[in-house]
Symmetry: D2
Subunit: 319 residues, 4 copies
């Protein structure tokens, strides 16, 4: 393996730059040339590719977003798009790839591997919704961003004895809501993985108030419904001087947490080692604190599981 | 003056606790007893009043919100409410008051002064929309919170070449938008104080993109319109892969900035000194870095002016 | 079990309050009365004990330090001290205890268990130097605090092309240095667990400069030597315009990170469950993301192991 | 004026990049070419000069340090050095300059003006020790960094009932200590501008403890003495379980606060406007919230005054 390419695909996540740095520096330490591919598969097809130097990845470990930019490019699902991409790999003499992104971006990586270009996937998304890894790159930062926001909302909620419904990201997964809910001391956590009953939530809030609690905070995963919708349902059961807040894209940005930087650094270095061993079509995970990898085909057929013990613990800690 | 009362009224703001601490400690240094009045005028009327000790205000200078809680209480506009409040002041032997809040809460303070209970107002609001003061307690913290959010949004905006419309607080005033817009490096700032033209904004964004700018950020004051409404108008003039974010109540919370803590400490101490001189019916300001005060009647007849030089400067810095 | 006591012992750590809240709320959810013991074993012996309510632990999950205060009290190693403590437990009718602190504080807990008062230990220290747990409560926050400081130091180091030696805490353990070093993009990590050669470090710095690197950052564990001493040794091999910074006690404080709050919440709840099962003389751990417990006697005979894979990875990422 | 140069000189400060951006963008808006001069006067003499584009200053407003690097270069005090610098200005066709730095760097700027190259100085230093300006670029960020550190130290100080001596920067000026002391709720502030008596400080700490205060924090300006020295003197008058912390270079870095970004943007734009009017040999200030300028010669003959009202207020707020 003489030349490898790196790209980031799908939604950006804090720590992607730390992963890019790790892949590049590790590869260079083996004398491998490194090429950056801008805008994911779109840039691959368009040949938006450049040679990276050590300095290209200097002072990026602490930066959010991705210096390689990212884009969604459904056309790569078609063989036509794949062949165009392979032409570019030939043109630049790139032997293998590291793709950092959500599992959606793994399909393209598998296709390239099938065409003889080994590709390894790194789980880069704030949603933590990828199987065979306990944590994805960006999740810890996003959770901390949400918790800092909840801490701020608590200030004003307590000052006015209000109820706040805080909508957080996570697409179909409740991970951000579960972790941020427990860490934020939320009174209620509403996630797609668990049934809920708005009337019961209303009763709980009333009980908390009767007990003298100055504020109530409900953390709502976006996969369930919109904050305003939930708030309106809640208001049918009483006036809680309720307010809703949608944290939005703020959750995607920011300087990565120490955890995410370390996770990205370990995974990035490991990806290069596996490519060196001639492996491809695999995705890297961190399971029980150990670096692991699995065939992408196995990922496609399995589902991520959220840590629902957090949901149960919170029932006894909030009440 | 033997006993003074403190209350926070209207929307809470970071730094209110620092102001409470300053009023309490300064008064105690003169041997004056200090009483905390919970929930603003509502608590005054209800007699939700307690004696404060030095320790009551210990370790609160760094806390957001207000330990005295806040509430809106329109009933205090009626003499009936005022007389009930005065009964409570008599009952607790309180001679004078410090009211921390927006200028709305100054009306009640003026009424109490007219009834013989000197009251001094402190400008506590994130909106910075109070006349005769360059800065209100809470404004600097809110602006920093918004800027940190814009910094995070820029990460993801740059990664995807998107346009973001960021709605910030400020009620009728554009101050938060102006300061956060300049400090956040916004490409456009939309405030109530200045005309705007969505088509022109769209043209500017197109020019920036043509020039290779990876992202565009529009900071929109809530007093103009909602972020979604603005975004929809924008989309009539082209597809900018636009997203909207409403920062919401996060802006009201958080540990106060150094500026807000110092401003609150100076104003709080000054309020006690003025009450000691037998003054009342006045509001404190910080003008040209000097502590000042004005009759509340003068405030009601004048209007706060935002620093629109920021608007003009930004035109040349963003483009 | 009708009444349990909680204390924090040894050095304070961010997340101790989250653990106190979790223990108290979990116990109350089972109808168990909860007593707070101030100042660790010193307060136990002195009877500085009070009944906790739900509200006692309200809004503390986000606060650094410990609301129960902490102290070192070597006298508790003597049976005399222990018997005095037991008298107090009898007096308050406390059946069992949760002790949050370093493994030093586990000895007292074991003695109490031997006397018939089941005690469970929770690993609360920023140093991460406790066996049978991958992470201690406070470690993640401390690492993030150090990384934020390194990010700031990098700004000024890069502006002046300087070399910085940053001394971090950890007592005999290199964990903070290893995690913060990798996450901070340190060029060199010096820890007690690994040999080092100052002359070699100097050579590496010279090579990095020859390669055009604008700054070099050395993260030094306090267990190795003092920053100034290291810097002086370094200067024997060349002028690197070196500066030293000792981060100091700032590392012990701050609002706990989301990880530490979740870890503390899980461990706190688990401690109550184990006491409910009649267990004692055990310490709780988080191993491979699973809650575990071990006999304190086993802890005393084993040693914590730092993740030295971080050391090796950094060699290839920094160069 | 067709071409201007920008440099940063002396110690770096947060907000220098925001100032560089403002100068560059403002000048470009007038069609003026902008040249970056690396490493201050050293780079000017060496001809380390490059043409800046709009994108050169893109996404730097939120970054600490200076993208133009900084260096001390005493040789520029000699005419020989100045003439070398002028040769470079001629070679690149640079007509005028903006120098961002401490007042030390203004001397070189004045010399260049005398040689016919108008130079305008911007006050860039965290120390706030420059006359004719209420605030320097970087001061507000440094104060906030110190206050965040004091907040963290308070956590651990309160948990252990300790006394902390926190040494902060400021060279000969007490501004950082005064602002951070008041904002941090320090019990004592020790600055060069005011006499102090260690025995009296010790007495005050004893009184605070007698009154039940859990911790005491002394903020010490580096211009007075070293933290350890102060602590040792303090210990002569009693055991306060005292600890010292030297915040060090962390104070120089970090993303600039909103205030510093706005101050830098206003001053940077103003500097270009003044050069456009043919002015030189002047330094810009912000006095009473208004942009001002003064002849550098006037600055050299006058002294910065710290806001000592903060010292007096704190006496009544801390006790």
């Amino acid at each position: 393996m003489k030349k490898i390419g790196i790209m980031t695909s799908g939604g950006d996540a804090p720590g992607m730059n730390a992963a890019i740095r790790a892949v590049a520096r590790r590869a260079m330490s083996f004398g491998i040339e490194v090429y950056g591919i801008n805008y994911g598969y779109a840039g691959l097809v368009a040949g938006d590719i450049f040679k990276m130097e050590r300095s290209t990845v200097g002072d990026i470990i602490n930066r959010g977003g991705t210096i390689l930019y990212s884009a969604r490019y459904p056309e790569f699902a078609q063989e036509e798009g794949q062949l165009k991409g392979i032409e570019q790999l030939k043109k630049f003499g790139i032997d293998a790839l590291v793709v950092i992104g959500g599992d959606g971006s793994y399909h393209g990586a598998l296709r390239l591997t099938e065409h003889g270009y080994n590709a390894v996937g790194l789980p880069g998304t704030i949603d933590n919704d990828i199987p065979y890894t306990d944590f994805t790159i960006g999740f810890d930062t996003a959770v901390n961003t949400v918790v800092e926001s909840i801490d701020k909302i608590r200030d004003t909620a307590a000052s006015h004895e209000r109820t706040f419904v805080v909508e957080v990201m996570g697409r179909g997964a409740g991970d951000i809501a579960l972790w941020a809910g427990v860490a934020g001391g939320a009174d209620e956590i509403i996630v797609p993985e668990r049934e809920f009953n708005v009337e019961q939530v209303a009763k709980n809030i009333q009980n908390l108030r009767a007990r003298g609690k100055k504020h109530t905070i409900v953390v709502l995963a976006e996969g369930v419904m919109h904050a305003d919708e939930f708030m309106n349902q809640l208001k049918q059961y009483g006036d809680f001087d309720a307010r809703s807040t949608v944290l939005g894209h703020v959750q995607r940005g920011g300087s990565p947490s120490a955890r995410d930087r370390v996770l990205a650094s370990k995974m990035g270095a490991y990806a290069v080692d596996l490519l060196n061993e001639g492996k491809g079509g695999i995705a890297i995970g961190m399971e029980a604190n150990e670096l692991t990898y699995h065939n992408m085909t196995d990922l496609f057929s399995s589902k991520h599981k959220a840590d629902l013990s957090l949901y149960d613990i919170n029932k006894t800690l909030a009440k």
